[in-house]
Amino acid sequence: MLSEAISLPNIQVRGRSFVALIVAPEAPLEFWFEALDAHMARSAGFFAGQPVVAELSALTLGDVGETAVLEALDGLVARGLRVIGVEGIDEALIAGTRWQGLPVIKRGRDVAPESSFAQAPSKAATPAAPARSAPPSLLIDQPVRSGQSVIFKEGDVVIVGSVASGAEVIAGGSIHVYGPLRGRAIAGVKRGAPARIFCRKLEAELVAVEGVYKTADHWGAEVHGRPAQVHRDGDGLIVSAFD
């Protein structure tokens, strides 16, 4: 009896909404793929690692032919897109093909762009799917004075002004200082090694990215006082001047 099988873990199934990119191939496919190739050439990383749903309803209309659906899917995958589902078609269209088993997603709600959100506040009770939000950032448009700490573990910190000697800035992501950096800058507390530090004038007491730090003694006079960036290189930290 199941009831006697004690200490089985209590399975919890939760719902969660994700944001996927929707591509909608149109006939004629060769032109559409040409446009897609041009788009991908301009911004190579656009689809990188992003889940993609193929919206294929346009290919089932008129006299395009049923093979168009399969051609479209083949074409998308051949270009490295990660198709996680299709929508707008009948499941029977992909039954028995290599695409059998690909989830046919019931049409969800498109995420409206922010501008139209403002124009038409949604009357529906259903919460809007979260837009793919940029990582948060903190903008400070005054000098960070000696003894002050700016701690923002959620994301990037942008400072329009100087960071004084004896002040510190700690960011989850990168740190951008449009002015002299004379205090401490500690980046990558959350994002880790990809975080960087940029400043208009490097006169810092200490810079660190994800636990690897350098003090003013570590970089030479050729970088000191110049526009510079700090980034990780393996276990090391590179401090380099721009221009």
Binding site: R145, S146, G147, Q148, A164
Partner: protein
Amino acid sequence: MSKVMVVTSGKGGVGKTTSCASLGAALAQAGRNVVVVDFDVGLRNLDLVMGAERRVVFDLVNVVQGDAKLPQALIRDKRIDTLSLLPASQTRDKDALTEEGVGRVIDELREKFDWIVCDSPAGIDKGATLAMRFADLAVVVANPEVSSVRDSDRIIGLLDSKTRRAESGEAMEKHLLLTRLDAARAARGEMMKVEDVLEVLAIPLLGTVAESPDVLTASNLGCPITLHSPTSPAARAYTAAARKLLGETVTVTPAREKRGFMSLLFGKKAVLQ
């Protein structure tokens, strides 16, 4: 409209008390009703610099704690009758001041005077924060050396966060007064240049006062320099600063050392080499 001005610096020995007395006297000489208030409880000096040390009966702590009435503690200057002093206590410490009590005294002073000039103690603890707490504007006194400049930077940060004005979201007016300037040493690179200090602190320059024996003499005689030797470069600098505080447009002329015959000679020689 009365104005509460704090003279502050963070670091000690940069010339806060001297500047407070000189600016206070210069404002009074310009016809304003001025009181200078010493917040340095336990280490009072303003009474000495103002030449009133033998006239202190009651002090700020007595008034804050309600042991004396404000008029009993105010000392009117014998040289300018629009200038008064509210001295600090020498025997108490800064814990004797409360925010509520200081606020009450400042409100009372606002009714009597045009300018309330508060001489802040060095440091960033209770005495200094109470001195700046109710200020409408601040004069940050700094010397052109790295330690003074960094401490001033710290104080500016506190002015922008810990004052009533800052907490209510209003802008805190801040002015930089650079004192003890030594042009010759700055030229040799032994001191920071005025531009460098301004670049670090990023607040407007009220004036520059050159290092001068006149200032020390005046302090030791208990007479603000604007009264003691009004034509000296330091007195002129303070007078110009006071006029600027009153809203007049004054072009700030950088302080320069008077160069003697010998230094002129050596200066020329150096150029010839």
